[in-house]
Symmetry: C2
Subunit: 246 residues, 2 copies
């Protein structure tokens, strides 16, 4: 069945999703508890099989809206890479997976899909530390996707994808702090963001926080690249590992 002839092998392909969000200042990833073999009962990234007449992006978008209940068009979705180790999945024919990075604002508690016993947001730091021992090669995929997200904050404007439709500069700064795990200088960040054309556009209205001066509200701008980039290298003192205790 798996051999089609000559030196070619027929395979199945899945799209697996690393859906990141920020809840109470901590970078979180959506995990599901598997309800089927293999790895039944273990935590894994949400995902599903490629269907006939469908691109892998379409498959990823379908899974994303199933898992989050939100139209995928409104969320940021991009490929990470293809994972093809023959030992990554015991099933035959072989199953390759194309990993996707999805970035979402806080969506509230998830509802388990059809092929999952459970679905929950977990702190990325804790999962990367190995607390769950994810199914398949999903620990590797998660690490790669998180690194891709961290890198993209530097030279792109996707940080706004973690925010609600309207957000304050302070909330955007908390995105960088949660994803990078560092403190960012508040005054310099404010100038950098408001001074980068097309990063954010003010709505004109303000929002009152529990404390302090009301903050100007912004929406995402048209620019996708951030040049010059936001630097994560400088002497920003690292913060304690967040989320392991949340």
């Amino acid at each position: 069945m798996a051999m089609v002839g000559r030196d070619r092998v027929a395979v199945m392909v899945t799209a697996d999703l690393v859906i990141l969000t920020i809840r109470s200042g901590t970078l979180m990833v959506l995990l599901v508890k598997r309800d089927n073999e293999p790895f039944k009962g273990r935590f894994a990234l949400p995902g599903g099989f490629l269907r006939d007449q469908e691109t892998i992006e379409k498959a990823a978008a379908r899974e994303l809206s199933e898992e989050t209940g939100v139209r995928a068009e409104s969320l940021h979705l991009e490929q990470v890479r293809l994972y093809s180790d023959p030992r990554r999945d015991p099933r035959r024919p072989r199953v390759l997976t194309c990993a996707f990075l999805a970035i979402a604002p806080d969506l509230g508690d998830p509802v388990p899909g059809t092929d999952a016993q459970d679905a929950l947001w977990s702190p990325v730091d804790a999962v990367l530390a190995g607390t769950h021992d994810l199914a398949f090669d999903h620990d590797t995929i998660l690490a790669d996707a998180v690194e891709q997200a961290r890198a993209k904050l530097e030279y792109s404007t996707i940080a706004t994808a973690f925010c609600q439709p309207q957000f304050t500069i302070g909330e955007l700064r908390e995105v960088y702090e949660a994803v990078w795990g560092v403190d960012v200088d508040r005054p310099n960040f404010h100038r950098k963001v408001t001074g980068s054309p097309g990063f954010v556009v003010p709505t004109g209205s303000k929002r009152q926080q529990p404390n302090g001066r009301p903050a100007t509200l912004y929406t995402p701008g048209a620019a996708e690249v951030l040049s010059p980039p936001m630097l994560r290298t400088p002497r920003t003192r690292a913060r304690p590992l967040s989320g392991a205790d949340a």
Copy 2:
């Protein structure tokens, strides 16, 4: 045959290679003339099918050494992304392809592989302008891979992968000029490269050019990231489209 059951489809997977090099100051890509259907007689990127018990990286490395005659370990090879449009290949079962970017020093004239009528280095600018109308979605793949290479020169040290084992700073500068298609200020480039720890390491010997003072020879350094990055944005006057006349 293509349907395995439920909502899953069995597919074939290929690895297609964008092998870039620089010959006489021009960025070139390796193309093969197809000897089989579909697209028989049309130019395409070299590639081949994924085999049993093999990762897609292994398949790409195998094709790369077949096409270039060089051990793939010595060349830079990285994924671009998975291409999965159901119309990209007329064959059934569906054929998805994982594109790879390979960067090589000037290797001389290629020898056609088993499933190609011909193999040749073509100027990237000319191919991107549509002179060949490549098979499948290979025009898109080429454009994506070239953009990935251009971006990587900014924040990584892979430019050395275009050079011979020993090279001069002038040769490395010609890499940037050929890939980006811009003039780079010679004195500033020299300082930037030699002042970036781990980018290049001097061998101690020098090489005499046809003209001028002998140049110090360097080998690639251990660093892979270049921080701060090399900027391609500044007021570098664009050079005329190269290669269309080569």
